[in-house]
Amino acid sequence: MLLSRRLFNTISFRLAALCALLFAVILAVLLFFNFSATNHALEDQLRTRVHEDFNTLAEEVDSESSDELVKEFDERVKNAPSPGSYFLVADRQGNKLAGNLSAIAPVVGWQKLPGTVAGKPDHERAHEIWGEGKLLSNGLFIFVGQDAFRVNVAENTLIMSYLWSGVLAGLAALLAGIVLSRGFLHRIDAINQTSIAIMQGNLKKRIPTRGTSDEVDRLSGNLNRLFDNNQALLDSLRQVTVNIAHDLRTPLSRLRNKLEDARQQPRIPAKLGEQLDGAIAESDQLLATFSALLRIAQIESGSRKKAFAPVSLSELAERVFAIYQAVAEDEGRKLLADIKPGISCLGDGELLLQLCVNLVENAIRHTPKGAEITLRVSAPAKLEVADDGPGIPPDQREKVLERFYRLDQSRTTPGSGLGLALVSAIATLHDTRVELADNSPGLIARVRFQPT
């Protein structure tokens, strides 16, 4: 159903439908001309025969008296009425005097009579009669006509054949449209799927090309080059980040070591010792931030993917719950577990543990005392951490997944602002993402993994 709706929404299908419509209009105009020309020809043929009949009559008509004319007509009808020929003689008032037609209004000139006037009740079907009426000098009205059945049949046949060919042509155009847009859709789908894969972090994915250098192929090629550039930029950005973090780590480490050496000196005044401890703690915090950055970069590089193996999400969550139930309690929060057993996914166990720990710790740290936190694992492979704390405003939910982004309310909470960025990087490595939603009240962080 969805496919057919998508099909009707495609540009190529709409184009095909438009072409079919245009084709139908042109066909209709052509057929109309064809039809009227054929019709005219047939009518002319019939008219000629009427004229011939008139002409044979005409020699006698004018010279004879009305009685003789009537007798002559009667004879004609009785003796040898050529099939399909009709005659009528009527007086001034329109009363029938002779002929094989019932009385008609004495109208001069060409006219088409409905089938009911043929006066042949046993006739299977009432035929139209086309003919010409004339007013004679002696006041009589004569009408000579021909059965128009054949012309009518020919017209009907023509109309039917036009209708059928129209319907067939329309169906053919529609079918062609569907087939064409299916083919087109397929290629557009490939572009879409590649884009989605790239957005999900599979930066190496490219759109397949056919080498036909048609429009779609050229578009795909250009997009692929765009993706190449994009990846190169991202790679260099990542490399710069890693380089900075890496290069600053060494001097920072030395600084830290020197502070530690100084701290080890004998007879250090208590005050100075405290200051040195503070300085060491500060440098440790800085180094921890760099470590986290490097770790994110390493996760983003995707190198861990090759070591993916089935991981029991249920057991992992049970482990985290067992460790953190006491921690939450000491922090004045309540940690609950709603873990369905036997659920597993493909992934990196160590990183998935960190993901789960970070989400739980995040909930503990960013909720007020007395908050309830639920760690949930459900089918097919969904991990959720829900709390009833202040939550995150909808417009900031994506931003908190970025590096160093912190909500105003949590600026005072210690932390590097990298916890959720790390969670996000781990999720991306597992071809999924972190969904942050309203738990009304509170926040629910959800990650759907690929079940095994």
Partner: protein, 223 residues
């Protein structure tokens, strides 16, 4: 202890030598991989501290070369990497422990102590004892002076690790790695929480605490 430090960064190796000397160890230095490997082969060291990245011969190759030659000296690898893949690679090559630079000197000392006096791998003990403390690994039971101490599984695991450390200092990082399998720094007081619960249960009804906190360093279990 006699320790060989194979490290090319002079600031780091000086810091290491001073720190080790201050704590009563005898440290020898090597500034590149080849020299380091040669010294490791000939000298009789208790522990080797090997940097992962070295000129001429990198740390991993040194570890592999020693292990291939049947040398089982305890080795601690040092690295400046974020340590995701490196830890696994290092341990697979045959290193016994792994430490990411920079590290606090007490952390290194605690790990070196743990490495140097590691019990033989094949010793199977079902009951661990320290003073009046008895931990039965099969029954999952703990008694202090014959009295049953009711512990949660997390606390039991923690105590087991402390008892296996045989009175030596264990750092927070060591506990996180070995007790809970965390190879990252948690943002909450995981170690403190479980340690204080374990301490409260062990010391209930006793005057003397068995768990000693060494500020800024770690914990120690004493009889």
């Amino acid at each position: 202890m006699k320790i060989l430090v194979i490290e090319d960064d002079k600031t780091t190796s000086d810091h290491l030598r001073q720190g080790l000397a201050n704590n009563g160890h005898q440290a020898e230095l090597a500034a590149d991989g080849k020299t380091g490997l040669a010294k490791a082969r000939t000298g009789n060291f208790d522990v080797l501290v090997v940097d992962r990245m070295l000129p001429q011969l990198d740390g991993l190759s040194i570890v592999k070369a020693l292990r291939d030659a049947g040398n089982h000296t305890a080795i601690l690898l040092l690295t400046t990497m974020s340590g995701l893949d490196d830890r696994v690679e290092g341990l697979e090559a045959g290193a016994d422990d792994y430490l990411v630079k920079p590290f606090a000197m007490p952390e290194l000392l605690a790990r070196l102590n743990a490495l140097a006096r590691r019990p033989p791998a094949n010793s199977v003990q079902t009951v661990l004892r320290l003073g009046g403390l008895e931990l039965d690994l099969l029954k999952r039971e703990v008694r202090r002076d014959g009295q049953l101490v009711d512990l949660q599984p997390q606390e039991f695991k923690l105590l087991e690790y402390l008892m296996r450390s045989d009175g030596r200092i264990v750092t927070k990082t060591m506990l996180l790695e070995h007790v809970w399998g965390f190879h990252f720094d948690p943002q909450t007081t995981v170690v403190e929480t479980h340690m204080s619960r374990l301490r409260a249960k062990l010391d209930r009804g006793h005057d003397k605490s068995m768990i000693i906190t060494q500020r800024g360093v770690g914990y120690r279990l004493v009889a």
